[in-house]
């Protein structure tokens, strides 16, 4: 960590977004993570995405669990709401917060330990309920805060810093999420913001649970030879499959692509996600073919990245429940609590 705060001085020619903010207005506190941590790069991509979408920072709620990744919400969007919860329990907090106030923009930041070990159950149920949130797994394959033990996402045979090999097979959050019915699934790499930022923007605008598994190398405990989550290994084995670009509803589509290899999907707010398929055989709206494609390439040791699956017209939790259109948090107390007389009337029905 650095001892000094990032100077407030900024480039006088910085562009501003639709609400007059510069990207620096989306910063948080100075990171205390190790220098070169992939997570910091993801935080930076998150700031860029919210900046480009012109989201007001105070309309965002950041929730996280425990771990290096879960510390990072402090380092972006200083003006947002935040809740740093118990290990693996972030999905419950997110569900509760979302139930109470559906108007905020939710971002959950978790790691491979927080989501795939202690919090695996919670993770699965948040997907099942299709909570309207962006859920990030900053995936580095190790427990960084406890000095580099293998996590549940470490590949079998990959080695720890001191050389011992991992005997267990990994949990792939992307395959898991698709099989659980997740409505938006993508994989990115912290070292490739050019692809990560549009994917984050699409995920923020998705109406439902958007999972992004982001390979995020741990420079201190998992960036050596033998690691399959290092910068060098990820770059060498990255297979960019579907390039997503994101267009706000008021913008014109400017991407120049060959017909036939491009598909636009309209989001519920009118914005569009464009899929550019690097591999023409890939269909990001078909669960079965997505799963077999990812499995096939995983067997070859390749890391398939991109916006891998999106369900059109997804119904998030509130529409499934048919809950009040107005956020509960903004309802007057008299509506939230109809009083003892009403309660007595309801109870009387079961007597």
């Amino acid at each position: 960590m650095s001892f000094l705060k990032k100077p407030k001085i900024s480039h006088p020619g910085l562009p501003t977004n639709d609400i007059g903010l510069t990207v620096r207005d989306y910063e948080g506190a100075m990171s205390t993570l190790c220098a070169g941590c992939g997570h910091d790069s993801i935080s930076s991509a998150i700031m860029q995405a919210y900046f480009e979408l012109s989201v007001e920072p105070h309309r965002v709620a950041k929730v996280s669990g425990i771990g290096c990744s879960s510390k990072t919400p402090t380092y972006f969007l200083g003006g947002a709401h935040g809740f740093n919860s118990v290990h693996g329990r972030m999905p419950s907090i997110a569900t509760g917060a979302n139930a109470a106030n559906r108007e905020l923009n939710y971002i959950g930041v978790s790691g491979d330990g927080d989501s795939l070990s202690i919090g695996l159950g919670q993770f699965g149920h948040a997907i099942r309920r299709n909570i309207n949130m962006m859920y990030l797994i900053e995936n580095n394959g190790v427990y960084g805060l406890t000095k580099g033990q293998f996590s549940a996402s470490a590949d079998r045979g990959s080695t720890a810093k001191k050389g011992e090999a991992n005997p267990y097979s990994p949990i792939d959050p992307v395959l898991l999420a698709i099989s659980l019915g997740c409505t938006f699934v993508g994989r990115g790499f912290s070292g490739d913001k050019e692809h990560l930022v549009p994917m984050l923007k699409s995920a923020i605008r998705h109406n439902g649970f958007a999972l992004l598994d982001i390979i995020s190398p741990c420079v201190t405990f998992n960036d050596h030879e033998g690691s399959t989550k290092s910068y060098a290994h990820t770059r060498a084995n990255l297979r960019e499959t579907v390039y997503a670009d994101f267009t706000e509803h008021h913008e014109e589509i400017v991407a120049q692509v060959e017909p036939g290899e491009y598909k636009n999907i309209m989001m519920h707010d009118g914005s569009r996600v464009g899929f550019k398929r690097v591999d023409e055989s890939y269909d990001p709206t078909n669960r079965i073919s997505a799963i077999s494609y990812i499995e096939e390439h995983r067997a070859k040791g390749e890391v398939v990245t991109g916006l891998l699956y999106l369900e059109e017209g997804s119904s998030e939790m509130h529409s499934v429940l048919g809950s009040n259109k107005q956020a509960m948090a903004t309802l007057p107390y008299s509506k939230l609590n109809p009083g003892t007389e009403t309660l007595a009337r309801i109870q009387k029905r079961w007597r």
């Binding site: 650095s2 001085i9 900024s10 480039h11 070169g36």
Partner: protein, 598 residues
């Protein structure tokens, strides 16, 4: 783009905007750090090595360093470099023991004509090498235009005397009251080389009707000289100054101290076209001098041998889209009353004492043909410097001319080729002290520029010798030094160590770093994280990075040298290294020499 060649001394030199902008290349950030550490004597010596007159220049330098200062591009106001220089001079110990004594005589005799900044610098550089310097001065005191043209309320005579003494007392044969009126006679004396540093002593005249009918119309620099030598001690209540350069500012402020009550400066053009430095305008306006724009002088009105005033044409200009002034149109004729007029519309160098027979080649304006870098003339062994060489510039340029001419004179006397100039160099030293510790104050300090305190408006007019500027106090100094961005602490990149984690890019407060595909400069400038429109500032481009073959590009324009890129770099690919630009002088290349000798 090709990878930047950082071994070329100019690359890192031009990142240090102030040092690059200074004609004499004073290592400004280095001496500002010395001041911060309380080493005023060291700071003085660091200054003296390049600009020779820190006390004088700390008050009246034209400060090309300040408009160049990176801080000015970031939060509008540059570091008060000049004021800090004065702090070093005011608080320095006696430096005599640190200056090299005159060397054992090498038997070569050099004549310097004029005892101004350029000649004194030549003497300063050549004395340690054993040259015998004979310096001719027409007045009874040395200093040249520094003494005659700069009023003592801006530059006290003691400061001038002290710094000149540091050179002269080491063994210059200074011949005062000796006006050279024949170059031929001087050539006949058999000097090994002659340096002409006679300045630009002829003020421009304004030949309008009535010009010669009154003795109350003065040429600015001549009038200032009379005041300096106390031959003039009064002026009328109503004074018009014609012209709006720095000499005009000195004339109007001097008038106020000699009895002027209603002093007007008459400018032909609008304010943005004024020649005076902004701070000199401010100082004059603080003293309630009126500056009237768009007035073209037309006639001196003299009745019965008495100056009544002047007629002006009031002009109107249009400004076109490129910000250029149109040809003026005359709106009306205006009469302005006055008792005295001072003409401050420029000055020329003049050489009536150089005979045609000497064969010295002159330009069409009767000025000598002088080589741009080695200062030689058409006659072997005669060199020109200061305002005498290329017309009026300023003190700091005169000093640099002196340094260059001294190298030429030394080479000439050694029988070497004077066009073969000694090279500059660059030395880099890491400032890393610990994991996140650097040997410089790297945090950005957002205090605004400190204002100089002045003697109050009533007191200052009591005596022309009262220096108006009080100098920075201890607190102002302590805060102002922290405003320096340490541009000499260079960000140095080693591409083979880079793992492209983006940490440096993400942490950079001014977004000056980008990892991207290589391309041509114009294309690259468009693809950087923040606009890189200032083409006067270079891009620092790395070789291909090991993992992706992309390049690291740094736009040097707005880097605050906070070192966060190096702190957040997990592999040490970025390092903060102090650059020392070595500048050649006649007595050899000096950079850290003076400081370490101390």
């Amino acid at each position: 783009m090709k990878p930047t060649d950082t071994a070329r001394p100019d690359h890192f030199h031009q990142v240090v905007d102030c040092q690059w902008g200074c004609p004499a290349h004073t290592d400004v950030p280095y001496y500002i750090r010395q001041i911060a550490q309380g080493d005023y004597t060291g700071a003085y010596l660091e200054n003296r090595k390049s600009n020779v007159f820190p006390g004088i220049l700390g008050r009246v330098c034209d400060r090309p360093c300040e408009p160049a200062c990176r801080r000015g591009r970031l939060d509008e106001e540059p570091v008060a470099i000049c004021r800090l220089k004065r702090v070093a001079a005011d608080l320095s110990d006696d430096v005599r023991k640190y200056l090299p004594p005159k060397g054992t005589s090498n038997g070569k005799r050099i004549a310097c004509i004029g005892a101004g900044a350029a000649s004194l610098t030549v003497a300063n550089d050549l004395l340690p090498l054993g040259y015998d310097i004979v310096m001719y001065e027409q007045h009874d005191k040395p200093g040249g235009l520094m003494r005659t043209n700069i009023p003592s309320f801006r530059l006290p005579a003691e400061v001038l005397d002290d710094e000149i003494a540091l050179i002269v007392e080491r063994g210059v044969d200074l011949r005062l009251n000796t006006k050279i009126d024949s170059m031929q006679a001087l050539l006949d004396e058999g000097y090994d080389a002659i340096f002409v540093g006679t300045g630009a002593p002829r003020g421009k005249n304004l030949d309008l009707p009535g010009r010669y009918e009154s003795d109350r119309i003065h040429i600015g620099i001549d009038w200032l000289e009379e005041v300096a030598f106390e031959h003039t001690d009064s002026i009328g209540e109503n004074v018009l100054i014609i012209g709006v350069g720095n000499t005009a500012m000195d004339c109007c402020r001097t008038s106020l101290r000699l009895g002027g009550k209603n002093v007007k400066v008459m400018a032909r053009k609008p304010r943005n076209w004024f020649k005076a430095s902004e701070w000199e305008l401010e100082d004059a306006e603080e003293e309630n001098v009126d500056i009237l724009i768009n007035h073209a002088p037309k006639e001196f009105v003299v009745k019965d041998g008495k100056l009544k005033g002047m007629l002006f044409d009031k002009l109107h200009y249009d400004i076109d889209d490129n910000g250029r002034l149109s040809e003026p149109t005359i709106i009306e004729e205006v009469f302005i009353e006055c008792d005295d007029v001072i003409l401050a519309i420029g000055q020329d160098n003049a050489f009536p004492w150089i005979e045609k027979e000497t064969g010295l080649e002159l330009t069409q304006w009767d000025t000598p043909v002088v080589h741009e870098t080695n200062h030689s003339s058409s006659i072997d062994g005669i060199f020109f410097g200061g305002d005498a060489a290329y017309g009026p510039k300023n003190i700091i340029w005169a000093v640099e001319h002196g340094h260059r001419a001294a190298i030429s004179i030394h080479k000439h006397c050694e029988g070497e080729d004077i066009s073969d100039r000694p090279p500059r160099g660059v030395n880099l030293l890491s400032t890393k002290m610990g994991i996140h510790e650097w040997s410089y104050s790297n945090d950005f300090d957002d205090v605004p520029r400190h204002k100089m305190n002045h003697v109050d408006l009533v007191k200052r007019f009591k005596d022309i010798k009262i220096e108006v500027e009080l100098g920075f106090n201890a607190e102002q100094t302590a805060r102002e030094v922290e405003r320096c961005l340490n541009c000499d602490i260079q960000t140095v990149f080693t591409e083979k160590l880079c793992i492209e984690c983006d940490a440096c890019m993400d942490v950079c407060p001014t977004l000056c770093l980008t990892i991207t595909e290589n391309g041509e400069e114009d294309d690259l400038r468009n693809r950087l994280r923040a606009p890189a429109n200032n083409k006067t500032q270079v891009l620092y481009v790395s070789d291909a990075l090991p993992q992706t073959g992309k390049v690291m590009v740094k736009d040097e324009d707005l880097c605050v040298h906070c070192g966060l890129c190096a702190e957040r770099c997990p592999t040490g690919a970025w390092d903060m290294r102090k650059s020392r630009i070595s500048i050649p002088y006649a007595s050899g290349t000096m950079h850290a020499a003076v400081a370490s000798d101390k």
